[in-house]
């Protein structure tokens, strides 16, 4: 399933770019991160426990930055492997100057889920994915504010 959206940050493009490319900051935006390892600038691994009311869904998530045009475009390939679920996601974001100041971000994510969780049906998964995305974006906002505060 493909989800996409636009978001405007008050911070500068550089500040937003900085957060989006700082594994540590990104870790703080992901739901239920339990551990996070940076192998090299383009390869990260996270162990997450996505909070579902029926008991969290544990996943090992490998991320690879497959394309990057500093300071406005990046594309990530994300592979999540958990018992009961396999997730494949390709996500990209494009930054531009917002008309009335700040930075505009257009993002899209193509999410593919397989395994028993997949068999729970998109009826359930689509709202869950949307919701997780909203939480990531809110957290991102927070991180960007924090970063631009530090800057």
């Amino acid at each position: 399933m493909i989800v996409s959206g636009d978001r405007t940050f008050t911070a500068s493009r550089g500040a937003v770019w900085g957060v989006l490319n700082d594994p540590a900051a990104m870790a703080k935006t992901m739901p239920g991160v339990q551990s996070f390892d940076v192998h090299d600038p383009t390869h990260w691994t996270a162990n997450v426990k996505i909070p579902l009311g029926l008991g969290g869904l544990r996943m090992k998530v490998d991320m690879e930055k497959i394309e990057e045009r500093e300071p406005d475009f990046a594309k990530l390939a994300i592979k999540g492997q958990g018992v009961g679920a396999m997730m494949r996601m390709e996500t990209q974001f494009e930054l531009s100057d917002a008309p009335d100041g700040g930075t505009a971000m257009h993002w899209t994510a193509d999410v593919r889920i397989a395994g028993p969780v997949g068999s729970m049906g998109q009826r359930v998964l689509q709202p869950i994915v949307n919701q997780q995305v909203q939480q990531v974006l809110t957290a991102l906002d927070r991180e960007v504010k924090a970063a631009s505060g530090r800057a």
Binding site: P116, G118, S119, Q122
Partner: protein, 821 residues
């Protein structure tokens, strides 16, 4: 024991047992929870098997690591595709090239080809531990794009599923009979239908597959307790692959929780159980769960009919048709491409078409493998012919009833040879249709249509005319692959009179609810002139009983012909031996002077001179001194019934492919709520003709069951895949099978047109030919008349599709055009 007392109000004692609704012998154990189903069987020290299954539809396997799983306490061991490839040969392929080149092993080797494909087997002390351990198996994949649309499978750039076959084409053949050019030249109108789609579903027997397999190291023999419904087929698949003689594979079944064809192709899983029983030196227990079954077992053949053209006269007389059938086999050819010829048993449906061309192609896709499903392959083709009739009627504004009656094969034409050499044995289709129409009060349908309209509902009435061809001539497989050395058919029964006069019957069949123990006893009791209660028909199948032959099993609507004819033959042999023995005992009384009555053999003119069966049994088995040397009586008779078949002409694709043609005509009346697309079946009639009925109640039960499955498939049941090859209906949560509240009122009717070709006048029946699917499609089509006139082009029509057809008739998929011939 299977002895039983008959409910008197139901059975007239003294009258022939055959033809009466004798309550089933099987039921007494089944209503007490005393049936023995495969998962009920336990052995000391057995290990539970769990399969690790692919989450990807199409991927290279780059690595498999079972070490963590094997280290888990309580785990007995594992089996991988690599080991399987070393220990076994690929399964024999029925297909000619290119399908013949597919290398099919019982676990994935190097590559996975559908979601749910078994990759590794893990065996542990408990069911739970086996599954825990399967989660510790580490497998790395390189995903490949999935092929899910058969229509695109041969497009350039589409990934190849079986490199060995050099592409996704598995089998292709052209069937043509009559003179198409002449037919289209003669036609007043030509109706063109761009595409029709018969969807993927199966009968989902409530019991899934399973086995308990023991390996006897000393004899090298496996005992396979299973619910496979065609052990003869499993054996010829497994023996060569396992490099072992067939007698090393002992198949045992008792009660089977439904089969419907779906339990024919479990041989890959059975091989895995056998290999592990030998490797681990302990009994292996495998239970398939519902989601495993939906993901990986026996989907029914999904089929497209493309670029169909129908030659028709203005009055609705059908001259001929041509179409391109495209069969979606899924990832493996486990019984396929036999579906590529089985349909030809019913080539013209129930109509007098003489000019027919079917260009048949079967391709592989990244979906679960297909294999026989109730109505196997004929149902798809009969749905097509019924759709064509209704679309023609719709387009030429003719009455579907009239078009059918005008083109039906008539009772006076019987036996009727079809354009491809099949011989329809008997039947009166027009009379059956009249019975069906009366059962739904068709005379007042216009009035009822108007009433529905006032309630804001759209009423539609639809007919499903269909055939249940039974008793295969396996020679038809040569049309798929001329090198195959199969032809004819056979079934076995043994009947013996034991030392205390007990009548013991063994069958080669593997019943799954068809009541073989009861109907066999009825046939035996009529010949031996005793009570059905005195006949003990052994439950189930055991290949050690020697009461089986190469085609033994329960499939393809044939027991009433093959099974019961074998029982009749063996019982007549026994009756003759009893008389022969009695003649000698009475001091040379000729056999014609003797008769069987009340469990004795007696002298016709002197009924007091009677020898009870018990005495006969005792004399032959335990008190035989002094009997004539050349008596030649064992009271243990084995008979093999062989239907009268010839090898078909492979060049012309011509010959008699099945012995009998049971008939079903169904009529459905539905009411659609146009606001939601939701519809109710408000009236339903099922009329059946299967020749002589041994047990009318059992026959009616089969009719009801086939109807219910067809209605489920028509409205809800559908194996739907997304573009990545994920199955979206992997269990009963999203794959909705009908429950008690979903069933419409049902009226049943019947005719008895005995088959002139079978010893008992019976016809095989039970598959039903999907009549309910045809009838519901036709009823929806009828309801849409004057409400957008969309074409019903898919065999599954859930509410949302009906709503789409009402709201966007042109965009809903079906395109039809009519030109002057």
């Amino acid at each position: 024991m299977t002895s039983t007392t008959v409910a008197p109000e139901q059975v007239e004692v003294g009258k022939a047992w055959s033809g009466q609704s004798v309550p089933r012998k099987e039921d007494k154990r089944l209503v007490q929870g005393q049936g023995v189903f495969v998962d009920d069987i336990k052995r000391h020290g057995m290990g539970y098997l769990h399969f690790v299954r692919s989450p990807y539809a199409h991927a290279h396997i780059t690595s498999i690591d079972v070490s963590k799983a094997e280290e888990l306490p309580g785990v007995y061991g594992t089996l991988t595709g690599e080991e399987v490839a070393a220990l076994t040969d690929p399964f024999f392929q029925i297909s000619s090239a290119p399908g013949a080149n597919v290398k099919d092993f019982s676990l994935a080797v190097g590559k996975v080809r559908f979601v749910g494909e078994a990759i590794v087997a893990v065996v542990a002390e408990t069911r739970e531990l086996a599954r825990d351990a399967s989660e510790l198996v580490e497998i790395e994949y390189e995903p490949i794009d999935a092929v899910v649309d058969a229509r695109r499978a041969r497009d350039p750039g589409v990934p190849t599923i079986h490199e060995d076959a050099g592409g996704n084409l598995m089998w292709h053949g052209v069937y043509e009979w009559g003179d198409l050019d002449a037919a289209f030249a003669e036609a007043d109108r030509v109706v063109k239908i761009d595409q029709l789609h018969f969807h993927r579903f199966n009968s989902t027997p409530l019991e899934c597959d399973g086995a308990l397999v023991e390996f006897n190291k000393g004899t090298g023999q496996w005992t396979i307790h299973t619910n496979n419904q065609f052990p003869g087929f499993a054996a010829i698949m497994m023996g060569p692959a396992m490099r072992t003689g067939l007698d090393r594979l002992r198949f045992v079944t008792q009660d089977i929780g439904g089969g419907f064809g779906n339990k024919i192709t479990s041989h890959p899983q059975l091989v895995v159980c056998c290999l592990l029983a030998r490797k681990l030196g302990r009994p292996i227990q495998w239970t398939e769960w519902r989601t495993d079954f939906h993901l990986s077992m026996s989907h029914g053949n999904e089929r497209w009919f493309l670029d169909t053209e129908v030659a028709v006269k203005s009055d609705g007389t059908l001259l001929g048709f041509r179409t391109k059938a495209l069969d979606d086999a899924g990832a493996w050819l486990r019984y396929e491409p036999l579906g590529g010829v089985i349909w030809a048993q019913v080539t013209p449906g129930m109509y007098k078409w003489r000019n027919i061309r079917v260009d048949f192609t079967q391709v592989a896709t990244n979906k679960a493998p297909v294999s026989p499903n109730r109505g196997y392959s004929r149902m798809q083709h009969l749905w097509f012919t019924e759709r064509v009739i209704d679309i023609v009627a719709h387009e030429l504004d003719l009455d579907p009833v009239e078009v059918r009656k005008r083109n039906y094969i008539k009772v006076e034409d019987m036996p009727y040879e079809t354009p491809n050499g099949c011989v329809y044995d008997s039947g009166d289709y027009a009379q059956m249709l009249d019975i069906g129409l009366e059962l739904v009060d068709h005379a007042n349908i216009d009035q009822r249509r108007a009433d529905a309209q006032t309630r804001g509902k759209l009423l539609g009435v639809g007919i499903g005319s269909t055939l249940d061809s039974g008793t295969n001539n396996f020679g038809q497989s040569r049309m798929i692959n001329p090198e195959l050395q199969f032809s004819g058919n056979n079934e076995v029964a043994t009947v013996k009179l034991d030392i205390f006069g007990e009548i013991v019957v063994t069958l080669g069949t593997t019943p799954q609810g068809q009541g073989h123990e009861t109907t066999a006893a009825q046939v035996v009791a009529d010949i031996l002139k005793c009570s059905v209660d005195d006949v003990n028909v052994r439950a189930g199948h055991d290949s050690y009983w020697n009461s089986h032959a190469g085609f033994s099993g329960t499939y393809a609507s044939q027991f009433a012909v093959t099974g019961l004819s074998a029982v009749k033959g063996a019982t007549e042999m026994l009756a003759a031996e009893i008389k022969k023995l009695a003649g000698a005992v009475f001091g040379g009384v000729p056999e014609e002077a003797l008769e069987l009555a009340d469990g004795t053999v007696r002298i016709k003119d002197n009924p007091e001179a009677a020898l009870p069966f018990m005495a006969c049994g005792a004399i032959i088995n335990a008190n035989n001194a002094g009997l004539p040397e050349d008596l030649g009586v064992t009271l243990n008779c084995r008979y093999v019934y062989r239907p009268p078949f010839q090898v078909p002409d492979v060049e012309r694709k011509f010959g008699n492919l099945t012995l009998t043609y049971a008939t079903q005509i169904h009529v459905a009346v539905i009411e659609i709520d146009p606001e939601t697309g939701y519809y109710d079946i408000v009236d339903y009639a099922a009329v059946d003709d299967c020749g002589k009925r041994i047990n009318p109640q059992i026959v009616e039960g089969q009719v009801m069951g086939a109807t219910a499955q067809a209605l489920g498939a028509a409205v809800h049941e559908n194996f739907v895949y997304d573009e990545d090859g994920n199955l979206l209906t992997p269990n009963f949560y999203d794959y909705h099978v009908p429950h008690a509240l979903d069933m419409p009122p049902l009226a049943t009717g019947s005719l008895e047109s005995p088959s002139p070709f079978t010893p008992l006048g019976t016809k095989g029946m039970g598959e039903g030919g999907g009549a309910g699917i045809h009838a519901v499609c036709a009823a929806v089509q009828d309801a849409l008349r004057g409400h957008g006139d969309a074409i019903v082009w898919d065999s599954c029509n859930p509410y949302h599709r009906v709503w789409e057809m009402l709201n966007d008739p042109k965009g809903a998929g079906g395109t039809v055009s009519v030109t002057d011939g």
